[in-house]
Symmetry: C2
Subunit: 622 residues, 2 copies
C-alpha cells in the first residue's frame, strides 16, 4: 500500500480489473506483486507456463504496467527487487502528484511486479532423488520423516545450516543485536500495522436520524411503497455525512434495486473511458463512492477489505445470486469469530452488511433462476456470535434495522428487503418498537385480545406477511368468533432458544407468543425447513406448520407463485381450518370455496398474465 | 463449436484460460465470440472502455489470437463477420490439421472474435430524448408504456416498421417462402442440435465390476484404509474403458485426495509449456483426460458442459470449498428439474457427480478454514427430483455408491467420503446390501436382538460412525444388559418422509428402525440441524438428539475436534446415559469417569499434538 496519511486508502485489489476503480487523487495505491513461483500443490501454474510475451500482454490487458523481477540468486534478486520496488513507488507517486496537481486526464496504468523465483526457494534442492526447490514438491513439508529417518534428519540439518545460524544467533540462541536493530518499531512492525487492525482506525458513522425518512402510515396495510427506495434516501444522507468512510457496493444493480438516491450524494466510481452520452444518466465519476461491478466476488472482497481497514459499507445484491459469495461469507464469518473470541488485541471492525433484495416472490419477469432464498440456510450454520438475519416487513422497519446494522461491529448482518412496492404496516414509532423486540404480536391484526387464541398466524418477510394478513381477513369473514393471534418476526434468530443464540427468546417468552399447544401457521419468506431448524427444540414445535418457498416456480404472477408454493392467503386459511379442531366439520364448505378461489385466480393469472385487481391492490380492511 | 464427427468435443470454454486445455488432435474446437456491445443493465462494461491496445493485449494474454469485427452498419458488419468467421474456421482447421499430421509442437493460439456493435442494435435510437440504441437503456424494455401512451405506441410502430415486415411476411402473416427456405433442417436447426440435447448422444459407461476393487473385511472395524484411494483404482479402470466419454475433474488436488491411480489410465491435460522435471511425477500430457485447474468454478462449468453434451464425469473437491460452486450447483439443479419434469423432448443426461472429500473431521494441518460441511444444507433445498446425497461409511460402500451414481441420469449426486485412512466395516456383499437399503441396522454392532431397544445409536459419515461405534463399546462395557440398536445411514434422503422425497422411508419403516418412543442418539457428519430438517415430521422426532459439527475448531487432533463439537465417543455415551431413564442414577459414576477421560484426552492432545495410541489405533473389539 502506498499512500499518504490523509488520502483514503483504496479498496483492496480483489480482481485484476480493480485497478480501474483506483483514484490517484483520493485513494492510496496498491502495488500488486504477483509471486510467480511456478507451482501449486501438485501442478505447474498456468501463468508460469505461458510465453513471456503472453504474460506481459495479460497484465497490460488488465491495465497495468508490469515489471519483471526474475531469477534464483538471492543476493542478486534482493537488489533487483529493491530497485524495482523503488521505481514502482516513484511511479505511483508521480501518478498521484500529476493527478493531484493537474487532475485526472487518463486512467493511470499502475505499475505491478511479476516476481518470478523458484518455489521453495533456498529449501532443499533434492530429496530422495526428486527435485524439491523449484518444484510442486516444495508446496508442503519438503522432508517428510526426519523424526524416524536419520538420513532425512541429516538433510534437514544440512538445509538449515545453509542459513548460517552461527552468524545469526549468539551463544544463548538470541538473534544478534545488529539484526534485531533492523526490525522496525511500533506501528511500522508488519504485525502492528494499524491498517491490519482496522478496528483501531475505525470511527463511528455520523448517521442522520433515520426516523426522518419514515413513510407515513395512517392505517396499517393501506398503501404500497418500495422499501429499498426509502432506504436509498437514508443511505444517500449517510453517504453525504461520511464522505471518507462509507461506500455502497452492488453488482450493476443499485438502480434496479431502487437505491439510486445514493447517486445524489456520490456517483459510481469510474476511471475507465467516458463517452458523451454518459452525462445523461450514467452517474459515473472518477470521484464516485458507489462501487458497481458485475462481479459479486469482487464486491464482497472490496467490502471485506473496506471493513477490515475500519470503514463502513453496505453490499446490495439479488437474493438468488448472493449464493455466489457463500464461500467468501463463510470464511469471513470464521475470521470474525476467531478475531472476536480468541484475539483480544483485535479491535472490533464494522459489520459486513448484506442487503438481499430482488426477492424470490416478485420475479414476474425473471422466473425460476431468480428464485433462491437459501442463503439464510448457509448463514444459520455459522457461529451465533457473528451472524444476524433481519426480515423487516416494511420500509419503516427496514430503516430501523439498517440504522442498527450500520452502528454495529463484528457481525455479518443480512437484511432481506425487496425493491418492489409492498404494503406498509407500521408507523415509525411502532416500527422501532417492533424491531427492537425483533418479534411481536400485531394487535391490530389479531382477534384474540383477552382470550386464549385458537390459532397463531405467524410470518416473516414482506410477501409472507401480506399473505398471512390476507388470510386473517378471510378467516375473520368466515368465522367471526375465531381467536387469531398474529405474530410477525423481524429478527430471525429470536426463534432459536436463548441457550443457542444471543438473540434467542427464552422458553417462557417463546411459549407465551406461540402457546404450548395451539396450532401455529407460519408463513415464511424462505425455505420452510429453516423455521423448523431454528424451532425444533420449542415446546410447541409439533404444532408449528410452516409454509415457504418449495422450489416451485416459473415466470409467474405474484399470487400464482405464492399459490404453487403454498404461501398464499387461501392455502393458509385452509390450513387454519384444518388445524383448528373446532373448525373441522363447520369449515368444510368454506374450504371448498377457498379451493375454488385458488383455481379461479390461477386461471386468471395464466390467461391474463397478471393478477386480478383485487389482488394487485389488496389492502387490509381492518 | 468446430470439429469433425469423430473427435471428442472439447469441454466448454468456461474461463478464458480454458483454451490452454484444448487439444487440437483429440478435441473439437470452440471459437469464442466476445460480443462487446458496451453496456450491462445500468453501466458501461469495463472491456468496452479500455483502449484498443489493452483489449487486444488482454486476449493475447489469455492465449488467443483476437480478431475484431467493429461497426454499426448492419450490412457492412454482416459481411465483415462472415469473412472473419470463415477466416477463423480456416485457422482452426489449419491448427487441427497440423497437429493431426505432425503432432502438437506448441500450444496453439486459437482465434477468437471481438464483435463490437451497439447494444440494442437497430432498436429505437432515442426515447423521450434519451439515447437507447448504443446505451444501457437498451438492456431491458426499451419503450415502457405503449399500452397506455399513444406516443410510445407510435414509437414501437416506427421501430418495428424499420424491419420492413411487408417484405418479410405475406398477406396472411406467414414468413415468405424465400426466407423460410433459408432455415436449415433436421439436426442442423439450432434448436435440434444434438450437442444441445446431450442425452440423445449419451452412451452408458462401460463399467468394470466394482466388486473387484473391494477391500477385504474379515472383522468389522479392525483395519484402516483410505476410501478414496480404493475409489481411485475403480475410477482408473472406468477411465480405461471409456477413453472418449469419461473424465475426472479436480482443483489441483486429485493426488492430495488420493485419486492418483487415475493417472495410470490418463494424465492431466496440459498443453502449456513443459519442463524437463515434469517427467518426474508431473503426470502431465497433452492427451490427458484428468482436468485439473485451481478453480472450482471452471471445473464445475467444464463438468456441466461435459454432462450436458452426453459424457460422464466426476468432480472431486475439498468439502469446505465446494461452497465456491453453490450458486452454480443451484442453477444446474434448477435446469435439471425443468429439463426432466417439463421438457419431454430432452433426453436424460449423465448425472453431475460431486465427490466431497478432505472432510471436516480430519483437518489436522489446515484447521478452521477447512471445516465446513454445509454444502449439504444447500443441496437439500433443491427439488427432490434431482438431488441425492450419500455418506458411505467405508471404502466398500463408497464403491457401491460410486457405481450407482455413474450409472444414473439427471441427478446431482453428492458423495461424501474422506481421503484419510478410516475403519472398514462391511465386506462387499454387506456393503451392497447396506447401500441398496440406504439405511440399516448393523446387527454386529447392536445388542438389542430379540428385545425392544433401550436406545438407538444412529450415525452417518465415516468419523461419526467410528465414534458412535466406540460409544457402543464403552456402553457395553459399562452396562452389560443395555439394549442398543445401531443404525447407519448412507442415503441421507431416507430420513425424509416418502411423501417428500422419492428415497424417503415410509413412516412404518422409519418408526420400525428408530422406534416411536425410545431415545435416538444420532451422530452426524455435518451440522446437526440438517438431521432435524429432514426428520422433524417423524413420530419419534422429539427423542432424536443429534450431534454434529458445531462450528468449533482449530488445528486439532481428530479426537480433540470430535470432543469440542460433541461427536466423540465419550460425549455420546454420556448422552445415552442421560437419555435412557433407567440409567439415570446408576450411571452417575460412569458419567463422571467419562468426563475425566474427555479431560485427559484433551490434555494429551494439547500437549503432544496427537491423540493417544489407543485412540489412533482404535478397533472394534466385538
Amino acid at each position: 500500500m502506498v499512500g499518504d496519511g490523509e488520502a483514503e486508502t483504496g479498496p483492496l485489489a480483489t480482481s485484476w480489473h480493480s485497478n480501474k476503480f483506483l483514484n490517484p487523487i483520493r485513494d492510496g495505491a496498491v502495488l500488486p506483486v504477483l509471486h510467480l513461483n511456478g507451482y501449486k500443490i501438485a501442478n505447474p501454474t498456468i501463468l508460469a507456463r505461458i510465453p513471456h510475451d503472453e504474460l506481459e500482454a495479460l497484465f497490460i490487458g488488465y491495465g497495468h504496467k508490469p515489471y519483471f523481477v526474475e531469477g534464483d540468486d538471492p543476493t542478486v534478486m534482493h537488489q533487483k527487487m529493491a530497485a524495482t520496488l523503488d521505481r514502482c513507488v516513484d511511479e505511483i507517486h508521480a501518478i498521484q502528484r500529476e493527478a493531484r496537481t493537474q487532475g485526472i486526464r487518463n486512467r493511470p496504468r499502475w505499475p505491478m511486479i511479476v516476481l518470478r523465483s523458484p518455489k521453495g526457494w533456498t529449501g532443499p534442492r533434492e530429496v530422495g532423488g526428486h527435485k524439491v526447490e523449484g518444484s510442486w514438491r516444495a508446496h508442503q513439508v519438503p522432508i517428510a520423516d526426519p523424526a524416524t529417518n536419520r538420513e532425512s534428519l541429516r538433510l534437514v540439518e544440512a538445509w538449515l545450516k545453509r542459513y548460517q545460524p552461527d552468524t545469526l544467533f549468539d551463544a544463548s540462541g538470541r538473534l544478534v543485536e545488529e539484526l534485531r536493530a533492523l526490525a522496525p518499531e511500533g506501528s511500522r512492525r508488519i504485525s502492528a500495522n494499524p491498517h491490519a487492525n482496522g478496528g483501531a482506525l475505525c470511527k463511528a458513522l455520523d448517521l442522520p436520524p433515520f426516523q426522518e425518512y419514515a413513510v407515513a402510515v395512517k392505517k396499517p396495510a393501506s398503501e404500497y411503497v418500495p422499501p429499498t427506495d426509502v432506504l436509498g434516501k437514508f443511505l444517500r444522507d449517510v453517504m453525504r455525512r461520511n464522505m471518507t468512510s462509507f461506500r455502497v457496493f452492488g453488482p450493476d444493480e443499485n438502480a434496479s434495486n431502487k437505491l439510486n438516491a445514493v447517486y445524489e450524494a456520490s456517483k459510481k466510481t469510474w476511471l475507465a473511458e467516458l463517452e458523451e452520452s454518459d452525462a445523461d444518466g450514467g452517474e459515473l465519476s472518477v470521484d464516485g463512492r458507489v462501487m458497481e461491478m458485475l462481479s459479486e466476488h469482487t464486491l464482497e472482497g472490496w467490502l471485506e477489505g473496506y471493513t477490515l481497514t475500519g470503514r463502513h459499507g453496505l453490499f446490495a445484491t439479488y437474493e438468488a445470486f448472493v449464493h455466489v459469495i457463500d464461500s467468501m461469507f463463510n470464511q469471513h464469518a470464521k475470521w470474525l469469530e476467531k478475531a472476536k473470541r480468541e484475539l483480544r488485541w483485535r479491535q472490533p471492525v464494522p459489520s459486513l452488511n448484506l442487503l438481499i433484495t430482488s426477492l424470490v416472490w416478485r420475479q414476474d419477469h425473471n422466473g425460476f433462476t431468480h428464485q433462491d432464498p437459501g442463503f439464510l440456510d448457509v448463514v444459520t450454520n455459522k457461529s451465533p456470535d457473528v451472524v444476524r438475519i433481519y426480515l423487516p416487513p416494511d420500509a419503516n422497519c427496514l430503516l430501523s434495522v439498517a440504522n442498527h446494522c450500520l452502528r454495529s461491529r463484528d457481525y455479518v448482518n443480512v437484511i432481506v428487503a425487496d425493491k418492489q412496492p409492498h404494503l406498509q404496516y407500521l408507523d415509525m414509532n411502532e416500527a422501532v418498537t417492533h424491531c427492537t423486540k425483533g418479534i411481536g404480536i400485531w394487535d391490530w391484526a389479531s382477534t384474540d385480545q383477552g382470550f386464549e387464541p385458537d390459532v397463531v398466524v405467524a410470518c416473516a418477510g414482506d410477501i409472507a406477511t401480506m399473505e398471512a394478513l390476507a388470510a386473517v381477513e378471510i378467516l375473520k369473514g368466515l368465522f367471526a368468533d375465531l381467536k387469531i393471534r398474529f405474530v410477525n418476526v423481524v429478527d430471525l434468530f429470536r426463534l432459536m432458544p436463548e441457550t443457542e443464540h444471543p438473540h434467542g427468546l427464552s422458553s417462557r417468552d417463546f411459549d407465551s407468543l406461540f402457546t404450548t399447544s395451539k396450532p401455529v401457521i407460519f408463513n415464511f419468506h424462505s425455505y420452510a425447513t429453516l423455521v423448523h431448524k431454528l424451532t425444533y427444540k420449542r415446546t410447541n414445535h409439533e404444532n408449528i406448520h410452516v409454509h415457504g418457498y418449495a422450489e416451485q416456480g416459473n415466470i409467474n404472477t405474484p399470487l400464482e407463485l405464492a399459490i404453487i408454493n403454498g404461501i398464499d392467503r387461501f392455502t393458509l386459511a385452509i390450513d387454519v381450518i384444518d388445524r383448528v379442531s373446532r373448525l373441522r366439520g363447520i369449515g368444510d364448505h368454506a374450504k371448498e370455496r377457498l379451493r375454488d378461489q385458488i383455481i379461479d385466480h390461477l386461471n386468471y393469472a395464466h390467461t391474463e398474465g397478471i393478477d386480478r385487481e383485487e389482488i394487485r391492490d389488496w389492502c387490509w380492511k381492518g
